[in-house]
């Protein structure tokens, strides 16, 4: 995994660790939406919503297209697949390592008895 990918992954996890940003992503899975529509859905300021959206854009999870005065947001799920792959790799790695740890520590214990 290269540096670029790792930094992108970092942004994805950063984006996912906030409930508002998760909710924005969930909103965009159904359909594209205007920034103003999304702002209307959340009881926080337009300024805060804009910050969350910019973070999602930096993580590559959301793309913005400008149509006249409307800024239309779309979900880009690609980076989520990278995140899932990372999680799956380490889930298997640590499951296997903990199994090996158990084998080592319990066999040592038997030898001591």
């Amino acid at each position: 995994m290269g540096e670029y990918q790792s930094k992108q992954l970092d942004g994805v996890f950063n984006a996912l660790c906030d409930p508002t940003r998760r909710a924005i992503l969930a909103r965009l899975t159904d359909t594209d939406a205007r920034v103003t529509d999304i702002a209307a859905d959340f009881p926080i300021s337009l300024n805060s919503i804009s910050k969350h959206i910019r973070m999602l854009e930096r993580a590559g999870l959301v793309t913005r297209s400008v149509h006249g005065r409307d800024h239309l947001l779309s979900l880009n799920a690609g980076p989520l697949a990278d995140a899932s792959e990372w999680l799956e790799h380490y889930r298997r790695f640590w499951e296997d390592r903990l199994a090996a740890l158990e084998k080592l520590v319990t066999s040592r214990k038997r030898k001591r008895k």
Binding site: F13, N14, R91, A100, K103, V105, R108
Partner: protein, 150 residues
């Protein structure tokens, strides 16, 4: 897709309950000889070497020797709280240039111990906290403690 987004966790959490004391399990994480045995993934790794500086701020290196070459893993200990909690950064070819964070909790369960590994990408804010004052504060705290586990 909706569910996938909501369910994508921000960290890997793996648990295993083992019939051993928290102390024995904890020590196996900081003992280079033990690490060389249990940090040897089956597929193509024929030998693992571990070097450990078991103190807060100390480094570890776990080199897994494969046919294709050495796969280096390294990191720095952030918390060493025997036998309850171990926190360290983790850098490997799989994490790219970015450091990740591993927290290991050892929870007593009758005669057994539940080991909980939480592995997460280090968010920027947390990284600054780790590299800055927080680490230094922990180092000082550690210096105050009896060096029973070092």
């Amino acid at each position: 897709m909706n569910a996938a987004i909501i369910n994508t966790p921000a960290a890997v959490v793996v648990r295993r309950t083992i019939a051993a004391s928290a102390e024995d399990l904890f020590d196996a994480w900081l003992d280079p000889e033990a690490l060389a045995i249990w940090m040897r993934p089956g597929s193509g790794i024929h030998n693992t070497q571990a070097k450990v500086e078991p103190r807060v701020g100390g480094r570890f290196e776990i080199n897994m020797h494969a046919d294709s070459g050495v796969i280096p893993h390294s990191g720095v200990y952030r918390v060493i709280d025997r036998p309850r909690r171990l926190v360290f950064t983790w850098l490997s070819p799989h994490t790219g240039e970015g450091e990740t964070l591993v927290t290991v909790d050892f929870l007593p369960r009758d005669q057994r111990t539940e080991v909980v590994v939480t592995h997460e990408q280090l968010p920027e804010a947390k990284r600054e906290a780790h590299n800055g004052g927080w680490t230094r504060a922990l180092e000082k705290l550690d210096a105050f403690r009896a060096p029973s586990h070092e």
